[in-house]
Symmetry: C2
Subunit: 317 residues, 2 copies
């Protein structure tokens, strides 16, 4: 019934009465034409005429990834969707379909419409559609989002070459700064809070970097220091980062920005000869800053490493 807007997804299936279906109907009402092909055992993805399809899954669990007292239900949904969608941006991909699996304790049912609106806002911004999901009760609120996208040329984290320039998008340090404030029972500064509560996946920027010939790319979810090591390990190289060049948020230090996770900015390596053209196109197409922060200095087939020894955070530690 929403298949009248020129997309290639199938229409929804009519659903029977029942409380579980009422909840699904409420979600579909919030999402409107953003949701397609809901109600069958599986969604059918449109045929592709070129490029490659990429897929990733990401979970957001209450009291692990956020606390209810920190952010609003709308922000909980938006942040979970942004975190998942960011993995597509980091491949240089566009968003296509999203599957929304929710575990909803009784106390969260009244907030579900706002959570859905937050998810919807990010899926809409990314140009994707919600093509399915799963609803369950449970003791702990959790959102697990699976994102499906398309890329002309998916950029892995494994292709950095000696001599490449290391670049990063945006200003770093906000989410770490907000978390430190909340943990000290203070309200964060508005800029830092918004960087944690409402991150924006860098889709346009990821495609610009891919089109410029980025050799490796990932999103900064574990912190710049840790993710630089991930990229270095996957590529078998060493990165030389200059702390003085790291773009930090207002009032923040490079040391704190190196450790700040869940940034959802992009870290990429590009051939030095591609930098000029990239910077010209960049200035014309996005207001997000792009900063050169270092260089790929040596191949290291044993294990990747970067200057300094600041660790990223590890949910499992």
């Amino acid at each position: 019934m929403f298949n009248t807007h020129g997309n290639d997804f199938r229409p929804h299936q009519p659903m029977r009465p029942g409380h579980e279906f009422d909840v699904i109907r409420m979600l579909m009402a919030r999402w409107g034409e953003l949701a397609v092909d809901i109600g069958d055992d599986a969604a059918v993805l449109p045929a592709m005429s070129g490029g490659q399809r990429v897929v990733s899954t990401d979970a957001c669990v209450e009291d692990v990834h956020f606390r209810r007292s920190w952010i609003t239900p709308f922000e909980v949904g938006g942040r979970a969707a942004a975190a998942a969608l960011s993995d597509l941006a980091a491949m240089g991909a566009s968003a296509e379909g999203v599957l929304v699996a929710l575990v909803v304790p009784p106390a969260w049912q009244e907030h579900l419409a706002a959570v859905a609106d937050g998810i919807g806002s990010q899926v809409r911004r990314a140009g994707g559609r919600i093509v399915g999901g799963n609803l369950s009760t449970g003791q702990t609120f959790a959102i697990t989002l699976t994102v499906i996208g398309r890329a002309e040329r998916p950029v892995s984290r494994a292709g950095a070459r000696v001599g490449d320039v290391v670049v990063v998008t945006g200003h770093l340090g906000g989410p770490g700064n907000a978390l430190a404030a909340w943990r000290a029972d203070r309200e964060p500064e508005p800029w830092a809070r918004s960087r944690f509560a409402a991150p924006m996946p860098r889709f346009a920027e990821g495609r610009l970097l891919a089109a410029a010939g980025a050799t490796a790319m990932l999103d900064i979810s574990d912190g710049l220091a840790a993710d630089a090591r991930h990229l270095a390990a996957a590529s078998g190289v060493w990165l030389d980062l200059d702390p003085a060049r790291i773009p930090v948020g207002p009032g923040l230090t490079a040391a704190s920005a190196l450790e700040s996770g869940e940034e959802y900015e992009l870290l990429a390596t590009i051939p030095p000869e591609a930098l000029d053209t990239l910077q010209r196109r960049w200035a014309a197409e996005t207001e997000v800053p792009l900063t050169v922060v270092g260089r790929v200095v040596a191949s290291n087939p044993e294990a990747g490493d970067v200057n300094g020894s600041v660790a990223g955070h590890d949910h499992f530690a």
Copy 2:
């Protein structure tokens, strides 16, 4: 490093040291060549030469979908994977890729290898690969699996036509019988227990039904009565089911089989003229029974319904 077996997925990315990565490495060691393209922001799906790609997500939450005292950790993993994969079988699809999102409380960490083996056993049986996932701590153990498959002709639940024959695979009633026993503090009979603890997605049977021209199909996850209503509602028809023809497990009644959920058998409608050929091919290719249980008797654009009024179970009620 596992990309040496002729599949089209990318190899893994080398990972850094760290406890979270140690857990991922342990999972990858359990899965062996079953896991591919792990460690990047997103997995790249192979190009397709024909057919359509289908996708579905399914969650299994402790104390909602199972209790720890009922089944082993291997069975927890296998059952979660079977439930998710069954949605592909119900489209007439083959399994391609699986994304495994786990929320693991501390008390479950020692069981994670067995859970992984259970997931792996079902992905292997289905002929799919594990292409990514997500690990999180949390208070409640949960597995959310996203499954990606391919079908020559995906069969929705919406195409049943007046005059079609209604068929069902397998013997029904086992899972409901096992649950009733556990809830009465009794150990279930072995047949009923295995139907709950180790369901087998009906991949070969789904493809046979699709190839025979099935007009509608779904898997029986909410119970035959409820899922017959889902199919009827989606197709805008009425189904006339004959309780005397419902294939039931040893010692069970049709009434209990109508209500038994999480069967993961297939319910389908097929044109009557296709039945003979289907039954001949069926006998040659599978030992799972196929039973005619009724007929599509009338179109009903208002709301689907079936004879009788037995409701399926509703996790959200």
